[in-house]
């Protein structure tokens, strides 16, 4: 089976549509969403509806910190994120709010664990952005492979036969084998707000039969999306960072 792993959508409808189309063309059988459907972007209602539609067709979805912040006031957000979140709350209909409120924090799918940030439970939402963080994250879970997002930057960590932690930045479009007898932590890049200097959307496809993961970059109309941010009256810095992919 081929799973499309999508995370950090951030109310970016154009990026999400581009990734879903790409995943369908690449033969993905099922979507797995790793959280942060809203926040920053101009189309929270559209994006949540698209995700709900996928879930009704068998997709899996877990909650992210921005999704949680819709109903619970968050203590750790930047000013821009805070402003965008206040705006987002006014945009979401009751069904969308209920959907976001009902999402699980994690989902175990056989040997795979889907979670938005590190599987460590406290404090919540720990970034897995370097080898020591990856090691702690893997120690906090028994799953053979952990899939998460939150950092917006793709990465792969693994533990070798000698117990060493290996870090790697996957090359887009190149399949990387994840041998089943080792443990892996795979961080998926963001669909809706790139932060590695390339404004294209990011997601990954996991081939469960071959145990191989392929990260993809998908170009979409960033200019139109940035314009929509400005037209929605959201902070212009959010439009600017989308254009730069920073």
């Amino acid at each position: 089976m081929r799973l499309a792993l999508l995370t950090d959508l951030h109310a970016n409808r154009r990026a999400l549509e581009a990734c879903l189309a790409h995943a369908r063309a690449a033969g993905a059988d099922r979507c797995v969403f790793l959280g942060d459907y809203v926040g920053y972007g101009p189309e929270p209602q559209d994006v949540v509806e698209l995700v709900m539609e996928e879930v009704s067709r068998g997709a899996l979805a877990v909650a992210g910190n921005h999704d949680q912040a819709v109903s619970e006031l968050s203590e750790t957000m930047t000013t821009d994120a805070e402003i965008a979140m206040a705006w987002t709350r006014g945009q979401l209909g009751p069904a969308s709010r209920e959907f976001l409120g009902s999402l699980p924090m994690r989902f175990e799918d056989g040997p795979r664990l889907y979670v938005h940030a590190s599987p460590q439970t406290y404090p919540p939402w720990i970034y897995v952005n370097d080898a020591p963080a990856a090691k702690r994250a893997l120690e906090a879970s028994r799953a053979q492979t952990v899939f998460c997002g939150h950092t917006h930057l793709r990465a792969l960590y693994g533990i070798t036969a000698t117990g060493q932690l290996v870090s790697f930045q996957p090359v887009p479009s190149v399949p990387v084998p994840l041998p089943r007898h080792r443990r892996w932590l795979s961080v998926i890049g963001a669909v809706g707000q790139s932060r590695d200097g390339d404004p294209a959307a990011a997601y990954a496809i996991l081939d469960t039969d071959r145990s191989e993961i392929t990260h993809h970059r998908v170009p979409y109309d960033v200019d139109a999306e940035a314009l929509a941010i400005l037209q929605a009256g959201l902070p212009p810095s959010l439009a600017e960072r989308l254009l730069k992919g920073r």
Binding site: T160, A161, T162, Q164, V166, F168, V176, P177
Partner: protein, 485 residues
């Protein structure tokens, strides 16, 4: 571990297991066959028992990742692999040829034999480097020779693939490699530079030429590090008939800093194929090791080899390509020759590592006997070389970055193609004949070359509007078609 599934006569996943060919500390190798797969095969099985260095398992897993991604004549063809959940193994083609290990009993070899062998190995290395792999364990026992002559690299257990996680990368307890052949940067733990393989090849060529290993066979890290500051005895001191150019090539491979070696294995192969074009430096003249004070200064002061903390991926080709330019020296082709030169000169500004080979084809008649002397008794071949050099003067390239070749053939297109294939050319720049009449009568060399070359080909034309370009174009067909003059 489950009970041994592998023994002579047993069958595993359809493979009929034959005799055990090799039993090493890290893996065993069995001859196997499969009813649906042609040819003799090998099954490599890791040793997994108490007391085995677990790094051997890491190496086996690395090879399981890398081998399926490699192809071509310079690697054994990958067939399949077994999962660790049941029985890990790798099945590959059994290359029908010996390794270079038995050669060790007949050392030293002649310098000619060393140059030929060195070139074949360099071609094989260039092939895997282009496939993103640094071998990191180049030595006689890992080099096989196909009946067709190509060198095959085996054992990718210590290799690095720049598009895959490097499982060996964190094994810093010891540098992994083979002591006599390991490059200085590899001794210090750097695993991603393709030029490390060039160093190992330099050691091999030195050893095969002199019968002596340039850095011995040290067993401790301190002994391994000695090669960072102590230069080897120059080969010509040990083998007086070794030509200066070959010493130049070998000592350049053995440079401590990767940047001082050849930019790529393709450049090295080219040097070994064209000795007359090797730029001789002080290396070629050396007959003594460096003085005691010089070595001491290197050891304690300015010769510290540092490893970059952040391992930036290294481009295996791209910034140091081999560029070939096919130049028509006929007077009527002068405008196109100038266009070619402008084009090449612009390319070189963005490719500081590029090497340029200037080609001209001396066309020979099919019927007349070879006639290399013209009426004035002047050697045409030599005259063409002079003209090629003259063409290249404005490029202002230092010796060693440019070379000149006059190919003699009845068929210019195949002569150029042959050169491109034999020299791992990355990019060919060629001019198209100006006169369309001549082209339609004789066939276009440039289009034949462009269609068949294994590399990028740029065809240059000097743009001129001729009457014929306008005449036949009518309003209807100008929208959808191009008329190529």
């Amino acid at each position: 571990m489950p009970q041994p599934l592998i023994s002579t006569g047993a069958t595993l996943d359809g493979y009929v297991i034959g005799e055990r060919i090799h039993r090493g500390g890290m893996a065993s190798i069995w001859a196997v066959t499969h009813p649906e797969i042609e040819g003799p095969l090998l099954m490599k099985v890791p040793v997994m028992s108490e007391g085995v260095d677990p790094a051997a398992i890491v190496g086996f897993e690395m090879e399981q990742m890398i081998l399926p991604r490699l192809s071509g004549p310079h690697v054994p063809r990958f067939i399949s692999q077994g999962d660790f959940g049941v029985q890990p193994y790798l099945v590959m083609e059994r290359v029908p040829g010996p390794s270079l290990l038995p050669t060790l009993t007949s050392l030293p070899l002649s310098w000619q034999a060393v140059a030929t062998l060195g070139r074949k190995i360099a071609v094989a290395l260039d092939d895997i480097h282009r496939q993103h792999v640094v071998h990191l364990d180049v030595k006689p026992s890992n080099l096989l020779t196909r009946p067709t002559g190509e060198i095959v690299l085996i054992d990718f257990g210590l290799s690095h693939h720049d598009e895959l996680p490097d499982l060996m990368g964190e094994e810093f307890r010891l540098p992994y490699g083979t002591a006599p052949y390991m490059a200085p940067e590899q001794v210090l733990g750097l695993r991603l530079d393709p030029r490390s393989d060039q160093f190992a090849l330099g050691v091999l060529m030195y050893f095969f030429l002199t019968g002596i290993r340039p850095f011995g066979d040290p067993q401790r890290l301190s002994g391994l590090k000695r090669r960072i500051w102590r230069d080897p005895v120059p080969p010509r001191k040990l083998v007086p008939d070794c030509p200066p150019w070959l010493q130049e090539v070998i000592l350049r491979c053995l440079e401590v800093h990767p940047a001082w070696r050849f930019p790529t294995a393709a450049h090295l192969a080219m040097a070994l194929l064209h000795p007359d074009q090797v730029k001789l430096t002080a290396r070629s003249e050396k007959l003594q090791q460096d003085s005691f004070t010089k070595v001491l200064r290197r050891r304690f002061a300015d010769h510290q080899l540092s490893i970059p903390k952040h391992k930036a991926p290294i481009r295996h080709d791209g910034d140091a390509p081999i560029l070939a330019v096919a130049i028509d020296l006929a007077p009527e082709a002068a405008p196109i020759a100038e266009t070619l030169r402008t084009m090449v000169s612009r390319m070189l500004t963005t490719l500081p590592g590029a090497r340029v080979a200037c080609l001209n084809v001396l066309k020979q008649g099919r019927i007349t006997l070879d006639q290399t002397l013209d009426d004035q008794g002047r050697n045409i071949h030599h005259q063409r070389l002079v003209e090629l050099r003259n063409w290249a003067i404005p490029l202002d390239l230092e010796e060693g970055r440019i070379s000149f070749h006059v190919l003699q053939s009845t068929d210019p297109a195949s002569a150029i193609l042959q050169y491109v294939n034999a020299n791992q050319v990355d990019h060919l720049v060629i001019g198209a004949r100006a006169s369309s009449l001549r082209r339609s009568l004789l066939g276009s060399v440039s289009s034949q070359v462009a269609a068949q070359a294994p590399c990028t080909v740029t065809v240059a034309r000097s743009r001129r509007l001729r009457k014929a370009d306008f005449k036949e174009v009518t309003v209807e067909d100008s929208s959808g078609t191009w008329t190529v003059g």
